[in-house]
Amino acid sequence: MLRKLLAATTLISVGMISTASAETITMWVRSGIGDSFKEVVKAYNSGHENKVEMTEVPFSELVQKYATAIAGGQAPDALSLDLIYTPAFAAADQLEDLTDWAKALPYFNSLSPSHVKLGTYEKKIYGLPLSVETSIFAWNKDLYKKAGLDPEKAPKTWDEITANAEKIRALGGDTYGFYFSGGGCGGCMIFTFTPLTWGAGADILSADGKTATLDTPEMRKAVDIYRNLVAKDTVPAGSASDNGVNFLSFTNGKIGQQSLGAFAIGALVTQHPEINFGVTLIPGVDGKPSSFAGGDNFVITKGTPKLSAVKEFLEFTYSLEGQKIMAKYGSLPTRGDIADQVLEGLDPRLKVGIEAIAVAKTPYTLQFNDLINSSNGPWATFINAAIYGDDVDGAFSNAQSEMQSIIDAAQ
């Protein structure tokens, strides 16, 4: 009943809108991906007859909000969907098939391959790359200098990072050496923390995604490194309950070092020019670096009446102008063919983000929300229990068995 009513209202409003010549596309974007998308929308709206109306949704709630909106017939025309969710929504038959149009794009073959791969389900393309980011390690050069460290020397191992963190903490007051969102932000930690184990060749899931392999010597080492950083008081107390809201604490200028994303480089460069920072790859527990290749896919809700307007907008973001705006605010170029042109004249630190792609991984599982991103999921709980709790062994065994049971229940 409610559904019919909603559908009827949507139909009526759609009918009213389509009588006008210019169309307004509604689009959702998750919070925490920086300003690149906002800026590209702004540029598009000022130069085109069609308009994009953007709504920012908290990243931890985007999936359920979108799923509920689809069920209620009120879904936006398109959205910027965390790429790891594309297979799940495509499998549920909720996305528009873009295969023919995508393959006709002259630059289709140079679009970020991992995005296209995750956007493809049963040989049809449902999602195309919108933003690309990798996780990187950033340090505050001013604080390095104050602490008597060489501000130009990027740390290569976690021993170095820990020693530097202690020296920065010794400056006293509310200056701290390190930061992470340790209070149940699964998304933040899969992005910044798992590279420690990936670099050393371990992973939290088996390659087919059907076995949880959390309890490895590498993960135990990684947990010890973070526990040690906390024990030495180099991390602000707020970290233990930060569910991701303060992920960008580095921007306050009082954090010496933090693992961040390429989006944060954009945010720092454009909004916090006062912070003098360097970036490098995130070292693994044995020193070999790794990274998380993430970002968003552009997906279109199945059956939207504004398909052509949506496509026009996407083509704009793929143009050199669009790519340049996106890159300026931290989204790495999605088109490989013009990447050099796009990055020309932009902040050189973004190049580290590009380098990271070569060593980066993206986990593939249909249960990503349940396993990793949900703030009550096993991964988020594990992070808090293992790093801040008293029973590390218990944290490992609980999370390992809960992850496995979630995977098994979904088979």
Partner: protein
């Protein structure tokens, strides 16, 4: 004679039958609303609970599968356990604060309406806004409590209230008492004011002391009011969700997942609407049972006041 006899019986019967129909007519709008917005949704929930019902895609009949799963679901039972623990603690805390406040503001004294207003003010703040406010108050870096405790010398260094179960739980209980006690106070106040002055005076003349008057006069006469306040408080606490969702996202290491939070997670994070519906029905049954039990314990049905 005979006709008039028939007439009298008819005229006697008509007024008796009419009020019945008229009464039904009067309550029809209310019944209609209750049916539309309560009975039908509950029936629909029951229907959903008998299916494997994903948020996206087609539902599939599963009979009592969801209910069987419920009885083997450890996490559901720990959510029930936590909710019971929370309900008991918070209800005691609310009454412990609200009762003295009600007695305090009942007597006519200077500024009494100002006191009543001030105590009642937090009630009109939405629970979500109140939770957000307290998240800020409890924030370890930029909030109030952490730096304040440090300044007063109660803690060495900053204490992150929301990082450990005990302190986070205390913070939430304090927030709820601050927010709800005023409402309970008003309910209890109406009960106190309904006690006739003569009874208190008579008791005083009989030589009853203050405590005796409270124990043998005030408390028994307030049974109905207390039942109302208790049921509202217990029901509200069992349905608690906002404060845990907003203030601690389920608490350090999922130790603060209330039943409603768990239902929300099952329905909208794991997308098992059918299972969520089954849990909701179970919760409804529990709530009805508890309310009936409370009414029976407080003997509200009795004719004697």
């Amino acid at each position: 004679m005979t006709t008039s006899g028939i007439q009298t019986t008819m005229s006697r019967r008509r007024p008796r039958r009419n009020p019945g129909w008229r009464g039904l007519l009067y309550i029809a709008p209310a019944m209609g609303l209750v049916t539309l917005f309560f009975v039908l949704p509950v029936l629909f929930t029951v229907w959903m609970s008998l299916h494997k019902w994903p948020l996206l895609g087609a539902p599939k009949w599963s009979g009592f599968g969801n209910y069987i799963r419920m009885f083997q679901d450890q996490r559901f039972f720990s959510a029930l356990g936590f909710t019971a623990y929370y309900t008991i603690i918070v209800t005691i805390a609310i009454f412990a604060v609200a009762f003295p406040l009600a007695i305090f503001v009942e007597k006519q004294r200077p500024l009494v309406s100002a006191y009543r207003t001030v105590i009642f003010l937090p009630v009109v703040v939405g629970l979500a806004s109140a939770s957000l406010l307290w998240v800020w108050l409890a924030n370890v870096d930029s909030g109030l409590f952490g730096p304040l405790f440090e300044m007063l010398g109660l803690t060495t260094g900053r204490l992150n209230l929301l990082a450990k179960f005990d302190t986070a739980f205390l913070t939430i209980v304090a927030m709820v008492v601050w927010k709800i006690a005023g409402f309970t106070m008003i309910i209890l106040l109406t009960g106190l004011q309904a006690i006739p002055q003569e009874l208190t005076e008579a008791a005083r003349i009989d030589g009853a002391r203050r405590w005796q008057r409270f124990r043998y006069l005030t408390l028994p006469l307030m049974r109905r009011t207390m039942a109302l306040a208790l049921i509202l408080s217990v029901t509200g606490s069992i349905l608690a969700f906002d404060q845990f969702y907003i203030m601690t996202s389920g608490g350090p290491q999922n130790k603060m997942i209330s039943v409603v939070y768990y239902i929300f997670n099952q329905s909208f994070v794991s997308f098992n609407l059918g299972y969520g519906a089954a849990l909701s029905i179970a919760l409804l049954a529990i709530l009805v049972a508890i309310s009936v039990m409370q009414l029976w314990l407080l003997k509200v049905g009795d004719e004697r006041p």
